[in-house]
Amino acid sequence: MNPVEVSASETVDIRIDQDVVRVRQKMRALAVTAALTLVDQTKVVTAASELARNTLIYGGGGQAVLELVQRSPTKGVRISFTDQGPGIADIALALTDGYTTGGGLGLGLSGARRLVDEFELESAPGAGTTVVITKWGR
């Protein structure tokens, strides 16, 4: 398999509600640049929206890094969310449909995972949380 190259990158701070909207908009623009189909654009923007909200609400704010990626000949988009919040003690549980500690629907993490091609979650209590998702073109 060819290596992944990163050809453009942008950082968005996630501090307030409106930043979640900004992440969505920038994610959309990047997905258009990567020539994802409309359905794939919609999926990755929706996943990013879920994760940005988690970064804000559970992580107490953080950052999103958006990247245009390429694994020749396929283009794609990648977005990483990082926060210095409380972290997640039981990751498998957090990834379960319907599980929430905050009164959400509990579909953010599990649903986001279903919507993308690659999903990585790193977290430990006290050590913050990082989630990286990638969506490849077809």
Partner: protein
């Protein structure tokens, strides 16, 4: 924070979501609609989402909540104009929008609301489900 305007057309409240909703705006819309249903005695709520590019779990929940609240207040909610890509994404996300009536466009949505209001609940009771 932006606010989504609510129009009144006869006994129906019309909402057309034209902006990328931040969570606070979605919550405000939910509250504004409940108040307007009570204030106006509206029997129907039509929410046009044809301009909405994504429905994530927060916005999906807003739609379900609006439908449930309006039902309690004796009004019916119809969501119209959902884009195909949004529908596919919603389902894969795991949202079914159970309890939310949908229609293709504003015209079909209004027909549905008119029918729901004209056919009184007790008449429908025999037919439902």
């Amino acid at each position: 924070m932006d606010r989504v305007p609510i129009l009144k057309l006869g006994r129906t409240l019309l909402v057309s979501i034209q902006i990328d909703l931040q969570d606070a705006t979605a919550l405000a819309l939910q509250e504004d609609l409940s108040e307007r249903i009570v204030a106006t005695g509206a029997r129907g709520v039509l929410i046009d989402i044809s301009a909405v590019e994504i429905v994530d779990s927060f916005i999906g929940r807003m739609l379900s909540t609006i439908a449930a609240v309006s039902r309690v207040l004796d009004a019916e909610t119809v969501v119209v104009g959902m884009r195909p890509a949004v529908a596919i994404t919603l389902v894969e996300l795991g949202l079914s929008l159970g309890g939310v009536r949908t229609a293709l466009d504003v015209e079909k949505g209004l027909k549905l609301l008119a029918a729901a209001v004209e056919t009184e609940p007790d008449e429908l009771a025999g037919e439902a489900d």
